[in-house]
C-alpha cells in the first residue's frame, strides 16, 4: 500500500522535475534568442555596408567566435542571401561564411541530431560554400550519410556547387534517385553538365530520362525541341507521354505527322495529349480526329477534344454542329459544356 503511494509520489516528482527543467530551458532559450536579436541589430549596419561594397572592411566587435555571435552572423547572412541578389554580394557572403562558419559547420555535420545536420546542408547551399564539396562527396560515396533525406540533400548541394565528381558519377549512384531529385540536380547544374546528360541519354535509367524530358519543359529552350520530338518514338509509354506534354507546353505546331498517330493510340493519355496539341495547333487537318475523340470512351479525352475544338476559329459552329447532329450523347454533353464555357471565359 505504502509502496504504491510512494511510486505515485515519485512519478509525480519526476514529472514536476521535468517540467521545471523544461521551463528553465525555455526561459534560457527565450533569453538567448533575445540576445542574438540584439547582436544582430549591432552588427547589421556594418555587415550590410560591407556586403554592398560601401565599406572595405568590417570593424565590429560583435564579429567574433562567440557562439551567440556566430548564430547572429549566420542569421544575418541568411537574411542578406535572400535579399541581396547581386553577384558581388553573393561572393562576399561566401567569403564571410567560409571564414567564420566553416569550422562550426564541420562540427555540426558530425552532430547526432538529424535536424542540425540537415539545416547545415541547407546553409552550405545558400552560402555557396564550395569548400564542402569534397567532404560531402566523400560522405556520399562512402554511404556515410545517415538518412535518405540527408543523402538527397547532399546531392542537391553538390549540384549547386557544380561538383565535377557528382556529374561524373550521378548515373551510377545506387540506389538510383527519384524523378524529383534528378530534376533538382538538372536545374542546379550548369549547361555544360546538363548537355552531357542529354548526350548520354540512352545510357540513363527511365526515371532519369523522364526527368530530363520534363526538365526541358521548364527551361523553355526551343533548341531542345528536336530532342523532344525524337522521344515520341520511345517504347516506354511514360516517356512518350512526358514528351507529348513538353510539346504541348512549347505550343508545338510544326509537323502534324509526328503527333497524328497518337490520335488512335490504345492509351487514353496519348489520345488526350493529341487532342490538346491539336487545340494548340488549330490545324484543319486535325478536325476529323477531334470530332471522333469528343465521343471517346474516356472522359479526359472527350474533355480535351471539346476544349480543343472550342479553340478553333470556327469552334462555336463545330460544337453547335456536334450538339445537333452527333449520335453520341456524351459527345453532345461535352460539346454543350465547352460551347457555354466560352460565354463565361474569365479574364
Amino acid at each position: 500500500m505504502k509502496v504504491i503511494i510512494y511510486i505515485n509520489l515519485i512519478l509525480l516528482g519526476i514529472l514536476l522535475f521535468l517540467l521545471v527543467f523544461l521551463i528553465v530551458q525555455k526561459v534560457i532559450t527565450n533569453k538567448r534568442t533575445e540576445r542574438v536579436e540584439q547582436i544582430k541589430d549591432y552588427l547589421r549596419p556594418d555587415l550590410f555596408a560591407y556586403l554592398l561594397g560601401t565599406e572595405e572592411e568590417i570593424h565590429n566587435r560583435w564579429l567574433n567566435n562567440d557562439p551567440l555571435s556566430i548564430q547572429a552572423l549566420e542569421e544575418l547572412l541568411e537574411e542578406a542571401a535572400s535579399i541581396l541578389k547581386g553577384e558581388m554580394a553573393g561572393e562576399t557572403i561566401t567569403l564571410l561564411a567560409e571564414e567564420w562558419l566553416k569550422e562550426e559547420y564541420h562540427r555540426r555535420l558530425a552532430k547526432g541530431r538529424w535536424s542540425t545536420r540537415m539545416n547545415v546542408l541547407y546553409r552550405i547551399e545558400n552560402f555557396y560554400m564550395s569548400s564542402f564539396s569534397h567532404h560531402l562527396w566523400l560522405a556520399l560515396a562512402e554511404n556515410a550519410l545517415r538518412t535518405e533525406a540527408e543523402r538527397t540533400e547532399a546531392i542537391r548541394v553538390l549540384a549547386s556547387l557544380q561538383s565535377n565528381a557528382l556529374a561524373r558519377d550521378l548515373i551510377s549512384l545506387d540506389p538510383p534517385l527519384s524523378k524529383a531529385v534528378y530534376k533538382d540536380v538538372l536545374r542546379r547544374f550548369n549547361d555544360t553538365y546538363d548537355a552531357g546528360f542529354i548526350e548520354n541519354y540512352e545510357k540513363l535509367n527511365n526515371v532519369f530520362k523522364q526527368a530530363i524530358i520534363e526538365w526541358v519543359a521548364e527551361t523553355q529552350e526551343y533548341s531542345y525541341l528536336p530532342f523532344v520530338v525524337e522521344q515520341l518514338k520511345q517504347p516506354h509509354l511514360e516517356l512518350r507521354i512526358a514528351a507529348l506534354k513538353v510539346l504541348y507546353l512549347f505550343g508545338y505546331t510544326a509537323d502534324s505527322a509526328d503527333v497524328y498517330p497518337f490520335s488512335y493510340s490504345q492509351y487514353w493519355q496519348e489520345r488526350m495529349m493529341f487532342a490538346k496539341l491539336a487545340g494548340a495547333a488549330k490545324k484543319d487537318g486535325f478536325l476529323p480526329q477531334l470530332t471522333k475523340l469528343i465521343a471517346d470512351e474516356n472522359w479526359f479525352v472527350r474533355n480535351a477534344a471539346g476544349e480543343a475544338l472550342q479553340q478553333y476559329a470556327n469552334g462555336t459552329l463545330i460544337l453547335q454542329h456536334i450538339i445537333e447532329t452527333h449520335h453520341d450523347r456524351y459527345a453532345k454533353d461535352m460539346a454543350a459544356q465547352w460551347l457555354e464555357s466560352e460565354g463565361v471565359r474569365i479574364g
Binding site: 500500500m1 504504491i4 503511494i5 511510486i7 505515485n8 512519478l11 509525480l12 514529472l15 521535468l18 517540467l19 523544461l22 521551463i23 525555455k26 526561459v27 527565450n30 541530431r113 538529424w114 535536424s115 542540425t116 540537415m118 539545416n119 541547407y122 545558400n126 533525406a149 538527397t152 542537391r156 527519384s178 524523378k179 524529383a180 530534376k183 533538382d184 526515371v207 520534363e214 519543359a217 521548364e218 472522359w299 474533355n303 454533353d333 461535352m334 454543350a336 459544356q337 457555354e340 464555357s341 463565361v344 474569365i346
Partner: protein, 474 residues
C-alpha cells in the same frame, strides 16, 4: 449467488489492473518512439525544403474540398484564407450540402459566382446536384449546390467535380497554415507517388490570434474545457500518430486535414456515406486496398501542426462531438470487422485495428469499471484498501500522467507555445484530467456507444462561431 458476486469482485479489480497496466505500457512504448523521432527533427528549418517546392514544376495540383452545411457565418472567411495559401496550383470546391441557411447565397454574392453547365464525371454516385457554380473573380473557386446527403456524400460530389490528381478535405471551421500543402505534399513527391495519403497534425485555434487566415501568435484559451481539449490533441497527435505512422500503421487521418491521391480514393468508391466516421473509414479502406492488392503504397503523418481548428467551447457541443466520434469509431470497426486481428492485413489488422478496438473502443468500459470500483470500494469496502489505491493510481497514471507526458513531449520537441506560463497551465490542467474531464468523456463516449447500438445516423446540429471571423474582429 453471493459466492458469484464475491468472486466477481475479486475478478473485476484484477481485470482492470492487468488491462490498464498493459495499455499504459503500450502508450509508454509509443511515447518513447515518438519522442525519439520528434527530437531528431527539433529545430528543422522546413522552410528551406518548402521554398524549393514552391517554385518547382513538380508539385501536384490539389483540389481542396470544403463541405458546408449551414456555414453562412464562416464560409466566406474560410474560402478567403484558402485563396492566400502558398501553393502553385490548386482549386477550392465548396459543396453546399443542402443548407437551410444562406450558405449558397453568401458564396454566390461574395465571389460573384455564375452557374456553369459542367459535365461532371460521375465516378462516385451522389445525391442530386442542383447546380455547379464558378467564381468570376477567382478562376479556381467552384461551388456545388446539391441536395442534402451528409458530409461524406458532399465530399464525394467534390471528388467527382475535382480536376486535380490530389484531393484534400477541409472542414469549414479550420484555418490552414499557408505552407500546409507544401509540407504535406512533400512526402508524396519524395516517394515518387508511393505515399497515397498524408495527414497533417491538427491544433486547436481557440486562444490563438488569427489574422487573414494566418495564425499570428499561438496562445492558450482561458476556458478549462478548451485547455483540456488542447491537451487531448497533444496527447493523441504527438504520442499516438507518430509512433504508428513510422510503421505505416496510421489509421486516422483527421477529418480536419488530410491529402489523398484521388485515384486511390475513387477506386475504393470514395467516402462511405452511412457512417459518421467517414474520415477514419476511408483510411481503413485504403489500408485494406493496399493489402488486398499487394501494393507498395504508404499512408503517412506529418507532425508539424499545419491546420488549426475551432474546438467546441460549451459542454453541449463538446458532448455532441464526442458522442459522434465514438459512434463513428464503433461504426468503422463494425464495418471493417473482418480486418480486426486478421493476420492477412499484417500489422494494420493485428495492431492498429486491435488498438482501436481494445483501447479506444473498449477502454471506455474499463475506465468506467475503474471509477465504479473505486467508488464502491470506498463506500462498501467490497475490495481491499490496497487494491482500491492501486486502481486509483493506475487510473491516475492512465488519465493524468500520460497527458502530462504529452504536454512535456510537446515542449521538449515542438515548442509551439512561446510563453512559459502556458506550459505550466497545460501541465497542471493535465494533472487534473482524471478527476473531472475523464469521467465526463466516459459518459459522453458511452452515450455514443449506445447511439451506435440504436443505429443513429444523423450528425446532430453543430454550432459554428467561425474561427477567422471571431478572432479577426478583436
Amino acid at each position: 449467488m453471493t459466492q458469484f458476486i464475491s468472486s466477481l469482485f475479486t475478478f473485476l479489480p484484477w481485470l482492470f489492473i492487468f488491462y490498464t497496466s498493459f495499455v499504459i505500457l503500450f502508450y509508454l512504448v509509443i511515447l518513447f518512439i515518438s519522442a525519439r523521432q520528434l527530437r531528431s527533427e527539433y529545430g528543422f528549418n522546413s522552410k528551406e525544403a518548402e521554398e524549393d517546392l514552391l517554385d518547382s514544376f513538380d508539385t501536384k495540383p490539389v483540389s481542396i474540398l470544403v463541405p458546408a452545411y449551414n456555414e453562412e457565418a464562416g464560409i466566406y472567411n474560410s474560402v478567403r484564407s484558402l485563396l492566400s495559401i502558398y501553393y502553385p496550383e490548386y482549386e477550392v470546391i465548396v459543396i453546399n450540402d443542402g443548407s437551410t441557411d444562406k450558405t449558397a447565397e453568401t458564396m454566390i454574392e461574395a465571389f460573384q459566382m455564375v452557374k456553369i453547365n459542367f459535365v461532371v464525371r460521375t465516378r462516385i454516385p451522389v445525391a442530386e446536384i442542383n447546380g455547379i457554380y464558378r467564381s468570376t473573380i477567382y478562376e479556381n473557386v467552384y461551388m456545388i449546390d446539391k441536395k442534402n446527403g451528409g458530409k461524406a456524400d458532399a465530399l464525394n460530389a467534390g471528388i467527382n467535380l475535382s480536376h486535380y490528381p490530389y484531393i484534400c478535405s477541409l472542414d469549414g471551421d479550420s484555418v490552414l497554415e499557408r505552407n500546409a500543402f507544401l509540407k504535406v505534399i512533400k512526402p508524396v513527391l519524395d516517394s515518387d507517388g508511393e505515399v497515397i495519403a498524408v495527414g497533417g497534425s491538427v491544433r486547436i485555434a481557440n486562444g490563438c490570434h488569427i489574422e487573414g487566415g494566418e495564425v499570428m501568435t499561438v496562445g492558450l484559451s482561458k476556458k478549462p474545457l478548451v485547455v483540456m481539449q488542447v491537451i487531448e490533441y497533444l496527447r493523441a497527435f504527438l504520442i499516438g500518430r507518430i509512433g504508428l505512422s513510422r510503421h505505416n500503421l496510421l489509421l486516422i487521418i483527421s477529418g480536419a486535414f488530410g491529402v489523398f491521391e484521388k485515384e486511390s480514393v475513387t477506386r475504393i468508391g470514395g467516402y462511405r456515406t452511412d457512417t459518421v466516421g467517414e474520415d477514419m473509414d476511408l483510411v481503413v479502406r485504403l489500408h485494406r486496398m493496399i493489402k488486398d492488392r499487394g501494393l507498395k503504397k504508404k499512408i503517412l503523418y506529418v507532425p508539424d501542426p499545419v491546420c488549426w481548428t475551432e474546438a467546441p467551447e460549451s459542454p453541449l457541443y463538446l458532448r455532441r462531438q464526442r458522442q459522434r466520434w465514438h459512434r463513428g469509431l464503433c461504426e468503422v470497426i463494425w464495418n471493417n470487422k473482418d480486418m480486426l486481428f486478421n493476420p492477412k492485413y499484417g500489422l494494420v489488422g493485428v495492431l492498429s485495428m486491435a488498438y482501436f478496438f481494445l483501447i479506444e473502443l473498449m477502454g471506455v468500459f474499463v475506465e468506467l469499471l475503474g471509477y465504479l470500483l473505486i467508488l464502491f470500494g470506498l463506500l462498501f469496502s467490497f475490495i481491499s484498501v490496497e487494491i482500491t489505491v492501486l486502481i486509483a493510481s493506475l487510473s491516475f497514471l492512465y488519465g493524468s500522467v500520460l497527458s502530462m507526458g504529452g504536454v512535456l513531449l510537446e515542449e521538449w520537441s515542438l515548442r509551439k507555445y512561446p510563453k512559459p506560463r502556458d506550459i505550466v497551465r497545460l501541465f497542471f490542467f493535465a494533472l487534473s484530467e482524471t478527476f473531472w474531464y475523464r469521467p465526463l468523456m466516459i459518459k459522453w463516449r458511452l452515450e455514443g456507444f449506445f447511439q451506435f447500438l440504436a443505429g443513429k445516423k444523423d450528425w446532430g446540429e453543430m454550432k459554428r462561431i467561425g474561427v477567422g471571423a471571431k478572432t479577426e474582429a478583436k
